[in-house]
Structures are given as structure tokens and as C-alpha cells.
């Protein structure tokens, strides 16, 4: 029973990681560094709150998240693909931009600097089987399916083969009539959609947008992408691993065996270790970050 509760909680915690990391894999596989995941998630969360507020339905919230994510992705795409701006810088800028503008529009729309009003979301009240209730949230299922589906897409479909080619050697793809920039664009929009759904999960699960509510989850997702070596299934395992560590900390409640600071470090430390090649060499897509 404890174990089941543990697993279910780890899955719930993993959902935003899984979605954002799927976006990260997609983005990096077509050659665009996914530093903007945090911003994309946050924009998705805000879009979800707006959509749900005005559309009075969580589905409208999902739509809102996709619209917001697409908007931010467009910025990212124009800067990195059309103008070949440096991807690291653009990623950082996108994060700043979303953090600032969600708060600005929070003030403008809801006259608050930290919270939106309560909006319709997924999950009812006083549900009898609490442990399973969150699984009535469709986003959870999307999250669980995202990376396996992405694996299928990347390794089994023409789109995936082309995406991988574009991320490894764009010139080669171009000579075979695979248009590089449109491929990248498609990859990025898919990535943006996935990451913003990760944010939407947070907002719709909370029935509310809170300023900065992604709280670094985009970076944990990025860590998972690298720790999982850009392979969807491995990345999914990494997400579950990181979520498991977090769950462990939550479940151990106050039994402060290890200071919480050290538990928080786990994903980051593991990623650095992975990068140092201690758990097997981590090789990024060859054209990652190169815009020509």
C-alpha cells in the first residue's frame, strides 16, 4: 500500500517532467538547445489559467496553454532558426521574458502579483479513491504517453528519421530534399506544445496560476534529457528517477536523515556525473546549437 502510494505519487510528480523532457528531447534532437523549457512551461501554465478562466473549462485551459506555448515557441524559432541567434542566449532570454511577462499580465488581467483566481481544472472534490483521482486528469495520461510516443515517432516514422538527420547533419538532410528549417520548426513547435502542456498540468492540477509556479522544473527536465542521453525511454526513466527522489523526500516527512538541500541536488549532481562520462558517455546530437 505504501509502495503503491509511493509509485502513484512519483508518477504525479513526474508528469510535468515527462512532458517538458519530451519537449526537450524533441527540441534537441532537431538541433535546438532546450534551455527555454522553464519559460515554455511557465507560459503554458499561464496560458492554461487564462484559457480555463475565460473558457470556463479545463479543456479551454489546455488550448490556452498550447496557444501560449506556440507564441513563445514562435519567438524562439524566429530568433534561433530564422536569424540564427545564439541558442543559449535566446534560451536564457526566453526564461526571463516569460517570468517577467506572466507576472506583468497577472497584474494586468487579475490585478495580483502572485496568483490568478481559482479556475476550472481537472480533478474533483472529495473523491473517494484519492490515490487514483489524479489519474482522471487526462494530462497525466498524455504525460505518461509522451516519451514512449516520441520514441516511436523518432525511431519508427519518416518524420523521426528526418528529425534525427537534421539534428545530426543538417547539410546531408538538405541535399536529399529534407528542408532543414521547416523540420526544425516542426520539431520546435512540437517541443513547445509538450513543454507547455507540462506547465498546464501544474496550473490545471492546482486550479490556479501562481507566479513562478514551475519552480525550476524545466531545468530538472533538461537534466533528465541529458541524463537520459536524448533517448526517449531512458529520459522517461530519468524523469521517474528524479521524481522518485523527490517523492522519497516528501514521504520521509520530517525524518531529516539528509538535509533537504542535499536531496534537492540529486538531479543536478547526477547530470554532472553523467556528463563527466562516469555512467557512460553522454553524446549530444552533433548539430546541437549550430544554426547553419
Amino acid at each position: 500500500m505504501m509502495l503503491l502510494a509511493f509509485i502513484l505519487q512519483a508518477i504525479r510528480i513526474a508528469v510535468p517532467y515527462l512532458l517538458a523532457a519530451a519537449g526537450g528531447v524533441m527540441s534537441e534532437r532537431v538541433g535546438v538547445i532546450a534551455l527555454g523549457l522553464e519559460g515554455l512551461m511557465l507560459s503554458g501554465a499561464f496560458g492554461a489559467a487564462l484559457g480555463s478562466y475565460y473558457g470556463n473549462s479545463p479543456w479551454a485551459g489546455l488550448l490556452g496553454a498550447l496557444v501560449a506555448g506556440t507564441l513563445i515557441t514562435s519567438l524562439l524559432a524566429i530568433a534561433t532558426i530564422r536569424f540564427r541567434a545564439n541558442q543559449v542566449v535566446v534560451g536564457v532570454a526566453i526564461n526571463l521574458l516569460v517570468a517577467a511577462s506572466t507576472r506583468y499580465f497577472l497584474r494586468l488581467v487579475f490585478d495580483s502579483s502572485s496568483n490568478s483566481p481559482r479556475v476550472p481544472g481537472f480533478g474533483g472534490e472529495g473523491v473517494s479513491n484519492v490515490m487514483l483521482s489524479s489519474f482522471m486528469n487526462p494530462v497525466v495520461w498524455i504525460g505518461l504517453a509522451a516519451l514512449p510516443a516520441l520514441g516511436w515517432l523518432l525511431y519508427r516514422t519518416p518524420f523521426g528519421l528526418r528529425a534525427r538527420a537534421v539534428g545530426e547533419k543538417p547539410e546531408a538532410a538538405a541535399t536529399l530534399g529534407v528542408a532543414v528549417n521547416p523540420m526544425r520548426l516542426k520539431g520546435l513547435y512540437l517541443a513547445g506544445a509538450l513543454a507547455s502542456l507540462g506547465g498546464a498540468y501544474l496550473a490545471l492540477d492546482q486550479h490556479q496560476f501562481t507566479d513562478g509556479m514551475t519552480a525550476g522544473r524545466g531545468f530538472i527536465a533538461l537534466a533528465a534529457v541529458i541524463f537520459g542521453r536524448w533517448e526517449p525511454v531512458r529520459v522517461a526513466v530519468a524523469c521517474l528517477l528524479f521524481a522518485g527522489a523527490e517523492t522519497l523526500q516528501i514521504q520521509l516527512q520530517g525524518a531529516q536523515l539528509v538535509p533537504s538541500q542535499f536531496v534537492e541536488m540529486i538531479p543536478y549532481v547526477l547530470t554532472i556525473i553523467a556528463l563527466a562520462g562516469v555512467v557512460g558517455r553522454s553524446v549530444a546530437p552533433a548539430a546541437l546549437g549550430k544554426s547553419e
Binding site: 526564461n95 521574458l97 517577467a100 506583468y104 549532481v269
Partner: protein, 364 residues
């Protein structure tokens, strides 16, 4: 040639600022305020009086350090996204040294010791990604980002478990090594946080310029950044330069920590580094990785930051944060475009020069 280079340096920021101004107008209008009045308020609250100038200079001091940090690594072809953690670590190092030193120690000894500790600790944090990059080829972008989280959590643990004053998030007051305020010498800055750390920051910019463009080590560092294989061929030990540049970069960011810890508050406080590390990227970008450009860009972003406060009663502070992000985005976008145009122009000029000379050579 120098003209095109100057154009390349100056054009993108100018374009970006134009764009930002338009965006700013729209945002202000969206809040139902008059852009003219808000801009006037922003200027008045920053460059309008000595206090405002002092505040801008104070913020520019930290930003100069983090901007230089990013630029120095950038010149070696590395992205130091970890200035945030290095800045905090540097400030922490300065604070610990200041706490350990006897209060009676004269400032001429205590201040340099604290400065050195700040640079040493910041440099040590920077050296980690440098070493991992040099040894394993690990992406310094990712390592520095991850290290930010690790360093901040670690410092948080040390402060909250060992070093804080009751009920607060800060260390006790530092007895030795405090840097005097600028107001102690120039009364007009009274009240503002600007302090003599600014002198160290400007000196750091000058030294960085000299180092990068006038020394052998700088020549080698830039060569590594432009073309590592050519540098290796030219006898440069590339891994050593990668490590060195990240350590120097971390040290510069660490120096920035002094501004708050020794120059302003006199103690280390959790979270003081918030945002300054990432803004350093913006500063270096707009300053085109050139120490003098960075001094100018630091002033620009400090003005925006302080200006956000000045107009805060009227429009949300996030207005200027949005503008900051917009400036970064548009500069990052404009740079390759401008470079492309200018490079094409330069190439055709050189080509025609070569052709001319060839023709002359043939005729004689």
C-alpha cells in the same frame, strides 16, 4: 576595418533599444498610463539625481563583474551560465573571510584579503565546469546551470545550519574588510549603495581588456575561442586554457559578490545574487564581449533595473524586466544578421582590393 568592427559592435544594441522602446510604450499604454510620463519618471529616478545615479552605479558594479565573467569565458568559446552561483559563492567567501579576520585588522590588509577570497571561491566554482569541459568535454552550459542549483543549495545549507543570525537569512555583521561607500568621499551619493567596489570593477574591466587584447595569454585564449584546433596547432594547451578561462570567469563573477556583501550590507544574505548572474549574459551580449562595451551595457541594464523601481508605483516593475529580456532577444537576433551583412561587405571590399593589386601587379 575598424569602422565595420565598431559598427558591428554598436548597431545591434541600438536596433534593440529602439525595439524595446516601442515595446515599452505598448506595455505602458496597456496599463492605461502615458508612456511619456513613465519614461520621464524612469529617467528622473535614475539619472535625475545623485542618489539615483549612485544606485545605478551600484547595480552596474555587480553587472560589470558578471558581464565580464560571461565575456571572458565567451572569448574562450565557453558559455558561463553559472555566474549566479559564482557570484553568490564569491560573496560568501568574502563574508567568511571578513568574519574570521580580527576586527582590528587595518582595511589595507583586510579588504584585499576579502577580495581575494571572493575571487578565489568564485574561481573555484568556475573551475569545476572548466575542468569537466577540459577533461571530459562535458558541456559547460549544462554543468554551470546545474552547478548554480547545487551551489545555491549548498550555501543555503551552510548559512541556515551554521552561520545565520536568529530569525534571519543572513550572517552576522562582518567586522573586517568592509569596503567604504562612495558617499564617504562624495557626499552627494549619500544614501545610495554605491561603494568603492566600483573601482575594483572598473579596474577589472581595464585589466580584462589589457589581458585579452594585449597579452600573449589573452591572444591564446581568444584563439581557443575562435578556433580551438588552430590554437592547439599554434602551441596552445587548449584544455589548460579552458580551465583557466572558466576559473578567471568565476573569479570575476565572485568579485561581484563583494559589492553587496562588503560594500553594501556588511554581511552575506541568502538570495542576494538573484538575477544578477543571468543579467550578466545580457550585459556581455550587448557589450559585445568587449570590456569597454560591457561597462556601457552594465550602465544600461542597471538603469533599467533601477528605473523599474522608480516607476513601480505606476506600472509593475516587470515592465523593465520584459524590456530587458526584449533587449537580449533582439540583440541576440540582430548580431548574426549584422555580422553577415558586414562580413559580406568586407569580403567584397577585400576581393576588389585583391583584384586591384593583381591588376597592378600584372601591368607592371
Amino acid at each position: 576595418m575598424t569602422r565595420t568592427r565598431l559598427l558591428e559592435a554598436v548597431l545591434p544594441p541600438v536596433v534593440a533599444m529602439g525595439l524595446a522602446a516601442v515595446l515599452g510604450d505598448l506595455l505602458i499604454l496597456s496599463f492605461g498610463e502615458s508612456p511619456g510620463a513613465v519614461w520621464a519618471l524612469l529617467v528622473k529616478g535614475t539619472w535625475g539625481n545623485a542618489y539615483g545615479i549612485g544606485q545605478v552605479l551600484y547595480k552596474a558594479t555587480t553587472l560589470t563583474c558578471t558581464g565580464l565573467a560571461f565575456a571572458l569565458a565567451g572569448r574562450a568559446g565557453l558559455f558561463n551560465v553559472g555566474a549566479e552561483g559564482q557570484l553568490a559563492a564569491g560573496g560568501f567567501g568574502a563574508a567568511v573571510t571578513g568574519l574570521l579576520l580580527p576586527a582590528s585588522l587595518p582595511a589595507v590588509i583586510a579588504v584585499p584579503l576579502c577580495l581575494l577570497s571572493a575571487m578565489f571561491v568564485g574561481g573555484a566554482v568556475g573551475a569545476v565546469p572548466g575542468a569537466l569541459r577540459a577533461r571530459f568535454g562535458a558541456s559547460e552550459v549544462i554543468v554551470t546551470i546545474m552547478l548554480n542549483f547545487i551551489v545555491l543549495a549548498l550555501l543555503n545549507w551552510i548559512v541556515s545550519a551554521k552561520l545565520h543570525l536568529p530569525e534571519t537569512l543572513r550572517t552576522p555583521d562582518i567586522a573586517a574588510g568592509n569596503v567604504p561607500r562612495l558617499a564617504d568621499a562624495f557626499a552627494m551619493f549619500r544614501g545610495s549603495a554605491v561603494n568603492f567596489t566600483i573601482v575594483f570593477a572598473v579596474a577589472a574591466a581595464l585589466v580584462a581588456w589589457w589581458y585579452l587584447f594585449r597579452t600573449r595569454s589573452g591572444y591564446e585564449l581568444r584563439a581557443v575561442g575562435l578556433q580551438p584546433e588552430a590554437a592547439e596547432y599554434g602551441g596552445v594547451k587548449v584544455p589548460r586554457v579552458l580551465l583557466l578561462s572558466m576559473a578567471l570567469s568565476g573569479a570575476l563573477a565572485g568579485l561581484g559578490g563583494v559589492n553587496f556583501v562588503l560594500g553594501y550590507k556588511g554581511y552575506y544574505e541568502e538570495g542576494f545574487a538573484g538575477g544578477a548572474g543571468f543579467l550578466g549574459i545580457a550585459v556581455a551580449l550587448v557589450g559585445r564581449n568587449h570590456p569597454f562595451g560591457i561597462l556601457a551595457a552594465a550602465l544600461l541594464f542597471a538603469t533599467l533595473s533601477q528605473g523599474g523601481l522608480a516607476v513601480n508605483a505606476v506600472v509593475p516593475k516587470q515592465l523593465t524586466d520584459i524590456l530587458t529580456a526584449a533587449v537580449i532577444l533582439s540583440v541576440a537576433t540582430a548580431v548574426p544578421e549584422v555580422q553577415k551583412q558586414l562580413r559580406a561587405a568586407a569580403a567584397s571590399v577585400t576581393a576588389s582590393l585583391t583584384r586591384q593589386r593583381n591588376a597592378q601587379g600584372a601591368s607592371t
